[in-house]
Symmetry: D2
Amino acid sequence: MTQTKKVGILGATGTVGQRFILLLADHPIFAIHALGASSRSAGKPYSSAVKWKQNVPIPAHVAGMTVKACVAEEFAECDVVFSGLDADVAGDIEMAFLKADLAVFSNAKNYRRDPAVPLIVPTVNPSHFDLIPYQRTLHNLKKGFIITNANCSTTGLVVPLKALQDAFGPLSQVLVHTQQAISGAGYPGVPSLDILDNIVPYISGEEEKMEWEAAKILGGVSADAKAFEPLSNTVVSATCTRVPVLDGHLESVSVKFANGTPSIEEVYQVLDRYTSEAQALKCHSAPEKPILVTRDADRPQPRLDRELLKGQAVTVGRVRECPVLGIKFVLLLHNTILGAAGSSVLNAEIAVAKGLI
Amino acid sequence: MTQTKKVGILGATGTVGQRFILLLADHPIFAIHALGASSRSAGKPYSSAVKWKQNVPIPAHVAGMTVKACVAEEFAECDVVFSGLDADVAGDIEMAFLKADLAVFSNAKNYRRDPAVPLIVPTVNPSHFDLIPYQRTLHNLKKGFIITNANCSTTGLVVPLKALQDAFGPLSQVLVHTQQAISGAGYPGVPSLDILDNIVPYISGEEEKMEWEAAKILGGVSADAKAFEPLSNTVVSATCTRVPVLDGHLESVSVKFANGTPSIEEVYQVLDRYTSEAQALKCHSAPEKPILVTRDADRPQPRLDRELLKGQAVTVGRVRECPVLGIKFVLLLHNTILGAAGSSVLNAEIAVAKGLI
Amino acid sequence: MTQTKKVGILGATGTVGQRFILLLADHPIFAIHALGASSRSAGKPYSSAVKWKQNVPIPAHVAGMTVKACVAEEFAECDVVFSGLDADVAGDIEMAFLKADLAVFSNAKNYRRDPAVPLIVPTVNPSHFDLIPYQRTLHNLKKGFIITNANCSTTGLVVPLKALQDAFGPLSQVLVHTQQAISGAGYPGVPSLDILDNIVPYISGEEEKMEWEAAKILGGVSADAKAFEPLSNTVVSATCTRVPVLDGHLESVSVKFANGTPSIEEVYQVLDRYTSEAQALKCHSAPEKPILVTRDADRPQPRLDRELLKGQAVTVGRVRECPVLGIKFVLLLHNTILGAAGSSVLNAEIAVAKGLI
Amino acid sequence: MTQTKKVGILGATGTVGQRFILLLADHPIFAIHALGASSRSAGKPYSSAVKWKQNVPIPAHVAGMTVKACVAEEFAECDVVFSGLDADVAGDIEMAFLKADLAVFSNAKNYRRDPAVPLIVPTVNPSHFDLIPYQRTLHNLKKGFIITNANCSTTGLVVPLKALQDAFGPLSQVLVHTQQAISGAGYPGVPSLDILDNIVPYISGEEEKMEWEAAKILGGVSADAKAFEPLSNTVVSATCTRVPVLDGHLESVSVKFANGTPSIEEVYQVLDRYTSEAQALKCHSAPEKPILVTRDADRPQPRLDRELLKGQAVTVGRVRECPVLGIKFVLLLHNTILGAAGSSVLNAEIAVAKGLI
């Protein structure tokens, strides 16, 4: 039995922070120890500081915790620090925590491109943890490190891409169109006047993230474990839209295989059988399987499928021939679970299982 | 001044039929003369037979008209017959009307593939009216004929494709993803339990229609005006989804040009300057221009842009490089105006201008 | 430990039937034994017969069960029969089941007004089970009986009314306005074109039901247990509307007390402390308390509060002075749990605890 | 023919300001002369300063106008100043404009309670303009004055109440429940996460406004035209909720008549026949009739009825007996037209017709 780890949550009052609290409230190895938020919230009981927007109450033992400022000294006892901070403040705060020798799991985009920071989707590339020893050397750390998880829409995309790449070899072209839920924009986020009876075919910076993140995540690690080796021959084109859905990003994907197009049935089989190190390590938050295949003609659907397998799997359906690229399919992920806090928690469980924490 | 033409509307109580009534209520050359619906409605005043779902009242002179059965004798005086019938009954009824030497403008899919029936998007291929003399010969008609308009989502797609093809030569690959409004499914149509806080990534038969209709519409007519010459080298791949939007189909399109990719600015210019025979003929329902270009980063949006230019134009925005195919953009059309009844009315105006009616 | 009871579900493929299956899938004393639906579904495996619209999968042991026709012989082994049948067929079928000496728990309106059929909201008037011996005499039954639960919106209303009436004496006037979720209309139910960006201020028959059902439920049973004694001095006025919400009916209530208006704080206390026989009997599905009081200024809200206490409690908030009637407040209930299947299941648990089954 | 009046719009970039621009763009007697907004917008062309959220483009001649700061000197040439300012800044700015001898028509709540400021719903109490001479005396003005229009939900309520009061004598009790559109909260206003699949049963300050404003509007003016005489015997109780509807407030109303309850048919007749000074003066924006009666069982509905009669009428339906108070009905008004900018414009037209401008 693993010993319980103390965890801190930065940005605890935000949308991602609230999801962290739900995921960690009854966790077998992580115990919520400290909550961090802006100076406006610091000093208040959590229940007063937060605009709680979940459909279950604030866990009783969390409601009364006093919110702290996001300074490393306040989190010195934490074995794990989860960050749901916004990008505009995450850069400085996360760096200060790293330098304080803390283990930081970030949802922000700030360090995703850093050549020494792993960008990990837990059911895709936990092997990128191999760079942690090198990262510690760079920053002269004993136990601290920082890893990030991917943008929500990238996360959903790379899980089936990884399965397909492993089975059928490199993908030369990927064209993806997303329909993203409003919860992805945080709170207050998307004004209702912008999205009721409407779609906004633009999310600032989102398409660029999808187009480069995939290459790092689906790529490997150098033999000396000092560098990432992003894919160089997989081109991704993304179009991202915001839709009037509460939770769950739907993505339509067309892919071209460098070595020839498999059959539809082969694709279904490969997706269905895919498994990852998160399953092998028997991590608490790992879904039974990374990909849930549906063969119903009109699925996946956000409202019906987003909660399946605890929101930690990607549901894939409608695999069919793409007259242009070869194969096309539709996927769905829960954007605030697998697409954000859930990935972080699972990444931390993997890190514990690997002895990094 | 053109003499007023008497028009009949088949399927007058349905969603498309109601739109016909709005478009024709104050029309300068068409006068509503007869309304046809199912036997259940026949004999009733229109206002009793219809579940009117428009946000303006039933035009006063239409409300009291007696609905007729959809039999040709009842429409013998009509110069033009617009059909908003469902596909399950449109086949027989429209054929009977054709054989009665009536001019039928159909929204149904039944005769779209017929080698002697033009499939016309009014701002794209009114030249396909050239086949009418041949069609009349086949059916031994004097003044009657049948033409169809395209599926709503196809209609939006082919307008900018036509502009691009005219300017830059053939398109070898087109990948399109639609987000289609619920009004496209008629009434009662999509159950609210299926679409509130949800997306349905499937519309029966829709993807197939988009993939083949474009080739017929964008192709030419043989020199003897007895056959269509569909494009054979343009491959289309479509993914169609239903979204919680009342009116307005949004489509994300990526295209590959056979002869090299133009610049983004060239594409914007070509779309903006595109004009069609409908404009040249100064048809009443023709929009000022077939394509309305927006350069705002987050447009077009269904709720804000669907009514522009009387709902008869396609709004195109977000033209940008597609790393996979070359150029990508987003378009919007009003699915029950340009995508259905509006196209039919404009097609009929063109037919009048060409002397076919 | 109570012995496991075999249960049948009539109307198993409908919206209420699906909710029954979720509530009973892992029930400690009820085991799903037989599923009944229309002749169109009979003979098929449940998973083929149903259009499953829940956000969790069909329970594995139910998916393969063969659906039966709704005839009593097929349910002869059932200790309990839950009916989610529509009113147009419920009358005959439920009567046939009753005459076959089965214990029927109906959600339909057909027998609610019957002078020998209890209309029971489990956290309000389980005392009305006292009429069962008399009902058995009437129909010459040994173990069978029929009870109904109330209309969904009535159910939410009477729980706090009962608490107030018990504490402060009779209510002379009640004015209630409902905002009812679309799931209350079943599937396909409300067309999306009717409810997106809209409200429908009318639900057929609903206002009448609310206005008379409350009197029977809040009334007593005669001393000889052969008749109900509905309230005669409580006048209810209801306005019912349909809103674009998936689940959860919100009701705004103003009440006038015959014996003088209590203070706001007294009302809060009484609502908070209210408890019922369902709690005393420690029934499995009984919520911790029948009424969940919220003092937040902007609660209850359907999306945030409908799932609290397993959806079996009524959440009440915004208690304040009503300048016209005395006291006003807002309540919320989950219409397909407490408002339908959940009440039935809890009623059956009470019946078991009372030794009636 | 009235001479054209120059008008200024304060808060021109906000939701109400945008509606003013649409209403005034082609107005026969008002010409948009100056636009005022916050210092952040001042100096910019209107099209750059505004986040335009209407479904028609910015009128061409307005798009290029330079936005001014809200200081009186900049509006000195304006015959009429419409204010769509938020309450937090409206108090000081509107007073400064008044003292500069300008005619101010305010939508803000700040001066509604002022004993010398008329609170006018144009189809209800234009007689309150009689206090303007007295107001001018107080402030030592020649041509300036200030009037306010009512809160949107009050506006819809008082129109039928006025008709009923005129016909049947005083109303002793009024109970009203509102379902208010999101556009009433401005932009960005209601976060989508708060209102999709949800209702918020609380709008800060709204219930209080409805409860007192009605008494001032429905009351009279003293014989010396120096004071208002609010109703003292009409008690109003309001419950206000926010719903996922774009435009259009729906209100359910129960009323008690001091002198006995009229029949349903009498109520319908009285509502239908009601007319006001705005009609008598033939004002451009006056609807054909102040109240549009519908006898359809399920109307009025926001999406279908809000635009009728240019959004300047109140639609009333579902008149029926209220078992508690006597009569109940449902009404609908367009909250940003009749409920805000449209009332202001019509008030100004009345003022011109009365020779006050």
